[in-house]
């Protein structure tokens, strides 16, 4: 993945990405921006959705949002490239109308043009943000996920590690519509939203991975609502879900426990498929480095906080 002049990034060249990629760094160092860049390069046709994907905008698309996609002072053009098995996918953002390349969108006022590289490669992506999810899309994703036998088994197994009372999770229909109901041993099943934020988040995340049909899942602040003692099981589940559905995960976190848990979960698998993307904000813009297994182990053993 190469990012040039996008938001706070002057040039970011991320080599050695894996199936599970944890994005870490201080506040305002570009973690969410990186996910937005991934979304944009995965499918430029969905560029108008960017404002509501990961930020608290209530889904409202403001022209001002697009004003800041190109790095301030960059001279008017952003370039994003992602290496895919089939080749390089590339997307440009430009304040001027492109002459040679296909135009995808004009966003905001004045218009910012989204230009797709001649490769035309697309990846389907799914976002699980920390914002409250609308019920209809959650039910749809969960329904798709549990339609797969291995998906249903996985979701139940992982949820049980977070709350052992959970016996069953299913879609339920009544006169008010559909909901996801959870059997926790009471006289009736309770709505998912009332079981707890951790379980709610996990259902959303696992449903997105297994049931969305996406090739890339972008998960913002995965630790929200999850107790640290559950994290190894959660990451074990994420890795299994990603393997079942053949999905690449990009996950932001502020939690050191998440990093350790992801490492432990990956160590226990036949293939260690974890990379950590560290982002730093320095004077020239945001910089980043990808840490692979050897460096992750050294950081954990040496007591180095890679989030700083």
């Amino acid at each position: 993945m190469i990012v040039e002049d996008f938001r706070g990034f002057r040039r970011l060249d991320l080599q050695g990405l894996k199936g599970l990629n944890l994005v870490v760094g201080r506040n305002n160092c570009g973690k969410t921006s990186l996910l937005e860049g991934l979304a944009l390069v995965s499918d430029p046709r969905r560029a108008p959705e960017l404002p509501g994907l990961l930020r608290a905008t209530s889904g409202q698309s403001s022209p001002r949002f697009f004003r800041w996609l190109i790095r301030d002072g960059a001279g008017g053009r952003t370039r994003l490239r992602a290496g895919l098995p089939a080749g390089w996918a590339s997307v440009f953002l430009d304040w001027t109308i492109p002459q040679t390349e296909p135009l995808e969108h004009a966003l905001g006022v004045p218009p910012l043009y989204v230009v797709c590289g001649s490769d035309g490669l697309r990846l389907r992506y799914q976002v699980t943000s920390g914002q409250t999810r609308d019920l209809a899309s959650l039910v749809l994703g969960f329904g798709r996920a549990v339609r797969r036998r291995d998906g249903e088994d996985l979701i139940h197994r992982i949820l049980k590690t977070v709350d052992p009372r959970i016996a069953r999770v299913r879609v339920d229909l009544d006169k008010d519509g559909q909901d996801i109901m959870v059997d926790i041993g009471l006289t009736e099943s309770v709505p998912l939203a009332q079981v707890g934020q951790g379980v709610y988040r996990l259902v959303a995340i696992l449903s997105d991975i297994v049931g969305s049909g996406a090739a890339v899942c972008l998960i913002d602040e995965i630790e929200n609502g999850l107790h640290h003692t559950a994290l190894i099981d959660v990451f074990t589940g994420l890795a299994e879900a990603a393997a079942i559905a053949d999905v690449q995960l990009f996950v932001t976190t502020h939690s050191h426990e998440c990093l350790v848990a992801a490492h432990e979960a990956m160590k226990a698998r036949s293939e260690y498929d974890l990379a950590v993307i560290r982002l730093f904000r320095v004077e020239e813009g945001v910089q980043g480095r990808v840490l692979e297994r050897e460096r992750i182990e050294a950081a954990i053993a040496g007591g180095v906080d890679v989030r700083s």
Binding site: R281, V282, A298, A299, A301, G302, G303, V304
Partner: protein
Amino acid sequence: MAVKPLEKDCPRILMVEGYSDLTFLAEALQHLRKWQGVFIKHFNGKPDMAGTMEIYVTPQLLVEKSAIGAVVDADQNPNGTVQRFEQVLSATTGQKVIHGAWTSGKPRVGLFVVPEGSSRPGEIESLVWEAWSSDPRNSASKACVEAYRSCMAGLGVAPQSPERGLIGALFAMRADEDPRLGPGTRAHAFQEWSAPPLAPLMRFLDHIDR
């Protein structure tokens, strides 16, 4: 008791291998009155300290700090240790870093490989033993410790590092709680800070804020 400083509050960073080194060098800095504003980062005795340092020294740290130094043991490979740490620190900081000195860049970057750079093997304990045993007032005690070492050696028991063994034996008698170099020094088992063998290291530490 002094409050442990936070990394974010300290303009100067000193990287060391383990907790015992941390406490010893904290005492040395306190003796020099250079303790304020220095955060000593230890790497849990990690065997590959150079590799861990590469992760620790981030572009952000280079921007935020005025001085970043490392004190490391030569162990059995003084030449290789000096070369490896000079190379890693130079590559990570973009400055030419050499043993025994501080650079003049921003931040200032320093490296000290104990006991004496590439010239001989050993560790901080080697310097401390030399410093303590070179004081004529300690000659009787020195004979006792060496006699103990000889006696144990006669039984086939020898420490991996001779000086670390000597310091352990000495501090076991002088610091009840913990005979390791750092905790023992903190308990005042060692106070010969002005002894000539320690001078190059103390000079290096003294220059951390120049």
